[in-house]
Symmetry: C2
Subunit: 328 residues, 2 copies
């Protein structure tokens, strides 16, 4: 009786296990990319397998802009910077005659960005410093829950990639700890990333300005200073990973040349390793760009991915949907 | 029958629950300190209680030197520095005529330290930089598994505080995430802290030097540079906490004035909060020092703890044993 019961249940159990794995990535087409992800996860989690990795070492790192959410026509944090300049303008009457602020206030983003990195840093400092950490958290929270993307009219947090959110969940269900390693501002991400990606603040690595501990009316505060602390991009990404995590990821996900060193750092250690580039190939549902884009350029990285056999996601063909709202 | 069974088991179940809580801290005497810890943990973990804190926000931070292990007659990392100077001396023939290195090589630690902080930083740079992160990890691992304390003849990792290790485990068993926030070197701690305290590398915050990503023979490495990146002490501790964790602890444990700002930062936020100072009062079993010690001075902190009603552990009276080896 007992063995009969087991025999009759066995196919169901097996089916349930298989369909469970398949259902973890429902927004992915059954192409090579999905297979590569599942194959990797299954081999590093199979006890006794030569590729087995203990839970504590299952570290996976994800870029944010262009990897977990869109980044066109410009990084979403840049929209925050411009909105914040407009908001702060009454307190800075000089801005209306001073570039790049004057152009922003006139709505001429192209001219505002003409000053390149220097102008962007100047605007970043002016808009990200001068508050306490708690005040800044509130400013970001207010913005992210109301500001909308100029093309889609959606909240920026709606423009996250459903297939990547499934990868995050799938990895966590398999004992991975998921981290964000982004060139974006660490405190720009923390207020909303946990709700949107399920990644807690202590697993977010990003660029930062310096802060200073102070007593104000007997209450301790951390004041945000207009001084760069760390740039978490390109060669900075492995540095940020070592600083915050202290061990190498076994899987890394990016979409641009800014992620190349993170992927190299991940790929170079011993054992089964997984590197993936999201390639923006879908002009209709999202944006199509790579080697010549000023935002999220993927050029050297694409060559290296091909040479090293890393997984390159073709968004157009690999993803059934891009954004969560397409499900509804 | 069923209700009889429940009735007869009920006292056993209750006893088991109570003794379970009590057994979590077996090396603590039943004094006010132990009661304060247990009371705090019980109220923040009790669902429906006004003091309830969700698991994700149960962050506890611990200083290391003097809080989780001893720090006399000098910080244990200083022994590492001196051993490493002796080890590296053949590659630096000039050291035998150059202070503070010359004094170290002659075994005259007092003179070596006469140069104060400047001398210590110079020695720290000379002994902590110039390797890759992987090489440094191996150097620390080799040292920590062999080097012995001059007074006790024990491995340094044996000189950890058994009662504090019990607090770490007790908090984790209650859904807390435990972090180290130490003035010591982050990469000096990471190679052994997980094994000794059960705290993974990504939950360690410490002082650091800068690192640089480089390709060497086609392999990526992180090279340790002789340049200070961050000093995780005093007002630096809340800064380090915000940088790495991104939210405030609800419990903080320290032993010196170097931890005061961390405790202030923890105490100042809303809700039930817990701050504890380990007071070194046991000259016989460990070391006795506080307001006038050059290592681990506890002066302002002791005043503030008394004024604010923080828990102050009297090692002599609160702890049944100090070190784990006393159990055997």
């Amino acid at each position: 009786m007992k063995s009969l019961l087991i025999k009759s249940l066995l196919p169901l159990l097996l089916l349930s296990k298989a369909s469970c794995a398949a259902d973890s990535l429902p927004s992915w087409n059954d192409t090579a990319s999905k297979k590569a992800i599942v194959t990797f996860v299954e081999k590093v989690t199979k006890e006794g397998s030569p590729d087995f990795v203990p839970v504590a070492e299952r570290i996976a790192t994800f870029d944010n802009d262009g990897c977990l959410w869109s980044e066109q026509p410009m990084y979403f944090q840049a929209f925050f910077i411009f909105d914040r300049i407009k908001q702060l303008a009454p307190q800075h009457p000089g801005w209306k005659d001073k570039e790049p602020f004057a152009s922003v206030l006139k709505g001429d983003i192209k001219s505002a960005l003409a000053g390149g990195e220097h102008a962007l840093i100047e605007m970043g400092m002016a808009t990200h410093a001068g508050t306490t950490t708690e005040e800044f958290e509130k400013i970001v929270t207010d913005w992210i829950t109301t500001a909308k993307h100029p093309k889609t009219g959606r909240l920026f947090t709606e423009m996250v990639f459903q297939p990547m959110i499934e990868v995050l969940s799938y990895l966590r269900a398999n004992g991975f700890k998921t981290f964000i390693v982004s060139g974006g501002g660490i405190e720009f991400m923390r207020p909303w990333v946990e709700r949107v990606y399920g990644i807690p603040p202590e697993q977010i690595i990003g660029s930062s300005i310096k802060t200073k501990f102070e007593m104000r009316d007997g209450q301790p505060v951390l004041v945000r200073l207009p001084e760069i602390n760390f740039v978490d991009d390109k060669a900075g990404k492995p540095v940020g990973i070592q600083m915050h995590i202290g061990r190498r990821p076994i899987a890394a996900f990016g979409n641009s040349d800014g992620d190349l060193q993170m992927l190299q750092w991940t790929a170079a250690s011993k054992g089964a390793r997984f590197c993936l580039y999201v390639h923006h190939t879908d002009a209709k549902r999202e944006f199509a760009y790579d080697r010549k884009s000023s935002i999220g350029r993927l050029d050297k990285g694409l060559d290296e991915a091909q040479a090293k056999g890393w997984t390159v996601v073709d968004m157009k063909n690999d993803w059934k949907i891009i954004y969560p709202f397409e499900k509804w």
